[in-house]
């Protein structure tokens, strides 16, 4: 166990296939990046446009959440196999994080 690694040598077709697949994936990553830039732009614009805070704040928070999901699932490959346990733990962290922020916004007072 442990130190033994499966030393599988790919044949040419397998090799090309995997190459192609990762190239495809990389194109997807660039698209993700474009979306993230776009979302950032919207967020900044929304603030500059000086709409009502009740409108802007939820929007930019939502945009942030989307960006984070993109980072996690695409850049950090959380959608791939083998991330089951780690996803569980990350979301547990997120829930606790959310509750923490929520309480600090409600029951730390002056």
């Amino acid at each position: 166990m442990g130190h033994d690694v499966n030393t599988h040598v790919k044949n040419q077709t397998e090799y090309e296939y995997s190459r192609r697949r990762s190239a495809n994936e990389m194109r997807g990553q660039v698209t993700t990046f474009a979306i993230m830039i776009f979302l950032t732009l919207i967020a900044f614009t929304a603030v500059y446009a000086d709409f009502s805070a009740y409108l802007v704040v939820p929007i930019i928070l939502l945009l942030a959440a989307v960006q984070v999901v993109l980072q996690l699932y695409y850049f950090m490959h959380m959608s791939q196999k083998g991330h089951g346990t780690t996803t569980l733990f990350l979301y547990t962290g997120v829930i606790i994080a959310f509750i923490t922020v929520l309480t600090f916004l409600t029951i730390v007072w002056w």
Partner: protein, 621 residues
Amino acid sequence: MSSVAQKKGIGSVIWDYLTTVDHKKIAILYLIAGGIFFVIGGIEAMLIRIQLAKPDNDFLSAGLYNEIITMHGTTMIFLASMPLLFAFMNAVVPLQIGARDVAFPFLNSLGFWMFFFGGIFLNLSWFMGGAPDAGWTSYASLSIASPGHGIDFYALGLQISGGGTLIAGINFLVTIINMRAPGMTYMRMPLFTWTTFVASALILFAFPPLTVGLFFMIFDRMFGGNFFDHTMGGNTVIWEHLFWIFGHPEVYILALPAFGIFSEIIPTFSRKRLFGYSAMVFATVLIGFLGFMVWAHHMFTTGMGPTANAIFSVATMAIAVPTGVKIFNWLLTMWGGSIKFTTPMLYALAFIPSFTAGGITGIMQASAPLDYQLHDSYFIVAHFHYVIIGGVVLGLLAGLHFYWPLMFNTMLDETLGKVTFWLFLIGFHLTFFIQHFLGLLGMPRRVFTYGADQGWDLFNLISSIGAIFMAVAVIVLVVNIIMTISRNKLVGRDPWGDGRTLEWAIPQPVPFYNFKQTPLVRGLDTYWIEKQEGNKEGMIYAEPIGDIHMPNNSIIPFIMSFGLFVGAFGALYNGEQAWAVPVLILGLIITFSAMATRSLKDDLGYHVHKEDLMKDKGGKH
């Protein structure tokens, strides 16, 4: 590279322990260090009880008393109970799941040494101008106002040892996730492994808020920050929240592994499989989860408003349900079994009603309006000593007797063990039962003295007498340990006769590489299954004998922790001593250069070769 013990000089034994990355030896380190801190914390408790034995006593001065309760609470929670639990986790969990090693042997050692140096640092405060004196909760306005360096020792010491704890937690999590033997599915893991798993998850999520809170305190006290200074816009309630977001899960970090130990002992000495295994697992996870939703029950009187109080009241009560599930499943495990009253089993038996008594007073406190009366009174002191001693300490003592043969291949004396048990149990109830009433009669906690004739004199005296019983019990235990070590009567595999899980199937003393061949797990209580089927070897194997990869020993964790220890003095005296900043930098340099050495020098470990394995004793092929 053979496990056969060669005769070694004392120096090389010490060096071996300073550099070890073997989880079994780290377990022994945790046991020794935790044990020492337990005695220190216990002596502090005795001082408390002496001071309170009679009204208007002047055995301890007011300031000193506050230092002693603070150090008693802090030491017991951070430096005694948790490390002792880690001792058993390290000793048992890898073996229980059929792993050759833990996931991060190097980090495991680093975790220990950080805890150790943090603990030493904290305790050095006694000799360097006074210990922390704002209670183990160190509430902000007082801890910011507290003169001297006590609180600085608290914040820095806990920061260092907390880092160690976090590392240990991650290590256990990954070990359990990745290193289980083939066939050891999650739903076949012994309960001690499960509780270790959940407790480690709690550590992972609960320690960061403490880290942040302690940093705030360090910034405020040493670097001019304003988090808790209301004149500068700060807010002390932030500390309360951060502390309890950590603090409440912390009590389950203590309780759950203890539950795990009992969940091993009770089936073993009832010769019956754990009743409702999956309910037990589910309850464990649920307790862990709910543990994060209830922290504000420590703050009912802070003035959070009725809505928050009501929500946290009800959420807190919910924890009784999964805990009750556990209590009843333990009872039903024994029901229809064949109960043998060994010392560990006696502790387990005493645990059930004692912990229930502590738990139900917790439920009373969970009722916010009632807690307005109970909070910060001796009722609270009674509650948490009932759950902590009745749950955690009984669990530790049970585990000590139960796993001693696994760790040392000898057996603690049963007669002395039972003497300890009865003295401790009687002393415990005598000390703390009466304190419920002290609280109801209006006695606040954390008072260094109390005036006569308020109706508290007799009860306090009774309580102090109870503490003497506990002290005698601990002394008998120490005698027992010394006798057992000097007698050194080896016992071999499965000494209790009724072992059920994999750790008892392994030959004794446990080889340094654990399993010669990785076992194949066919169900819950593997060893029991194999024994029932008449398998003399106790396990079947998932692989042929092959080379085993082992990590190298390393002194680097020790040096890294030592660097932090040195650096902490620099931070502590920042702005006060000319040498402070250089020392801070020196410490960080030590740590970082040790780290750099680690990352620049490849450390690939070594292999135990097949031929040596075949020769090794215990290999019956």
